[in-house]
Amino acid sequence: MAGESPGPTAGSGAGRTTSRAPGASRRTFLKGAGIGAFALGSAAVLPLFGSASAVQDPATCRATDVSQRDKRLVVSNWPAYIDVAEAGDDQYVTTLQEFEERTGISVSYTDDVNDNAEFFARVRNQLGACEPIDRDMMMLTDWMAARMIGLGWVQPISAERVPNLHANLIEPLRGRQWDPDREFSAPWQSGLTGIAYNASLTDEVGSFEALMTRDDLRGRITLLSEMRDTMAFMLKVTGGDPDDFTDDDWYNAIDYLRGRVRAGQVRAFTGNEYIQDLTAGNIVACEAWSGDVIQAQFDNPDIKFVVPEEGLNLWSDNMLVPNKATHLENAEAWIDYYYEPAVAAKLAAWVNYICPVEGAREEMEKIDPDLVDNFLIFPSEDDLADTFDFMALDEAQNRQYEGDWSDVTSG
């Protein structure tokens, strides 16, 4: 750090003592004064750095809808979340191709949503500043959809243009407190969170309690990094109710999790990548999403999905139209299209998640009768009777719990 060494030491040995001392001390003084002034000035400037609220009003933060003259639609979705033609199958027409043919809208579709929080981070700065994110539609899970709607970042969907949505949405997904009338969101697919295991490597794992305590699983399980998914079950295991819990319930649950993590039971908290570790044999059991497991079973029949004894966690990924999207009407056409039962059934037959569309089950008879009775795709009213959801959190709770959560997941 050459810059910090005081001047006089640089002089040669001779003649430094008397003649230079006054000059040096004056220089040191000047230097000190300069640094002091600089520091004071800096301190005065610091408060200027602040950042404004990111809340927007969708009514004012909107772009002119050019859907009529610009027949395009930009969609961001999770990976492997839409049907594609198998290699070598020229006959199959995907739902997306059919949509394009029927409406004349060309869709640019990307699967760049890996994680709700990560996606939020990616678009936060733009949406918070009322800037376009160059997408007309994104699919986000309930809690994140709720958060974005709360921040005013999502455009309302006109009910007249999506009649199929309001007619065909299955009952359990109606009346969600964060968007009771489906004014801003439409479920794309729903799913269950449960346990998956590799039957060639371990016995059945029937409950989260077993997953978290069995010695033969130590270090060979993963949990999901989505706080709500995992903590719902931790609350259940420790006797709390994810739909309605107190701070004490929360601390019990998080302490339980921390204890198990410290004991080395949990190998990692993961996003979608758990399914690779499971198929590769790096882990033998894990918390999992139903659709992923059904897809993995095609490659490896030893992969099994279990509804844990603690109950079912039902969630949806929702289609949202962000502020400043320029193709709102095309997006609405897309939503309405995917709420046609035949289309929904075709999609469900491929992605294997719970289909949110009434009447799709009947259509499925024509496509793949084997799947009709799969309760992971078409659960009955009874199946869904004891599903639970994670209660809505305000910003303060969210910050508090997310903080606790990241303490545990970061060791």
Partner: protein, 277 residues
Amino acid sequence: MSPGMSPLQRMGRWIGQHLVLAGGILVLIYMFVPIFVVVLMSFNDPKSRLVYRFDGFTLQNWLNPCADAAMCSAVSRSIQIGLLATLIATVLGTMMAFALVRHRFHGRSVANLAIFLPMASPEIVLGSSLLALFVAAGFAGQLGFWTILIAHIMFCLSFVVITVRARLAGLDNNLEQAAMDLYANERQTFLRVTFPLVFPGILGAALLAFSLSFDDFIITNLNAGNTTTFPMYVWGVAQRGVPMQVNVVGTVMFVISVAIVVGVELNRRRQEKALAR
């Protein structure tokens, strides 16, 4: 055969003499093992997108490098940013290096410190402070190509200055004086003598800058907003199944850069030989 030594002694001596070399080669192998894997996996025919392991040989990945269009657009964006960042950082950095080596002025030590500090800051700090600035200055909505470029130029700059400065400092001052003595004016001296001599240093700095820029994830990820570069794409797919084309890109990068380095080296040798003749 030397009578004073038993075969065992000779062997011991031979091993002793080659131990370090063997160790060095082992370390090199350690450095290359993952590269072999990258090259191998670029020919992989995966059974399942979920499992990352070698299942069979195919040329498909090479024939269809852009099977995932998102990857190719990420690669081309990374190349654009890399080239622009390299160009600007190399020009600015070379100018700074010349100023620092060839000119005396007040505040040199401050300038040296300012160049050292970005290298002494962890990437996460550089990235987060830039993000803090962009957010505080109200540029949060503009995060993307240009903010990535700004960040890349910033962290490449120091490396360029250091590399060129080292080359420049090792240069014999007499050569420039000799040029002046032989009737070259200052501009001619620079163009005909100084620049050609410093050029290998500048080229090295540019290569370094490009690879730093092309490779950067941490700073980019914080300041990319909605834009995806190649490392960000890889980070994303690492969580959901890696297309083997990623390894094609890795292999191509490797081959091109080695070709450049070897080409420069061969050229240098040829010139040296020509001079020796």
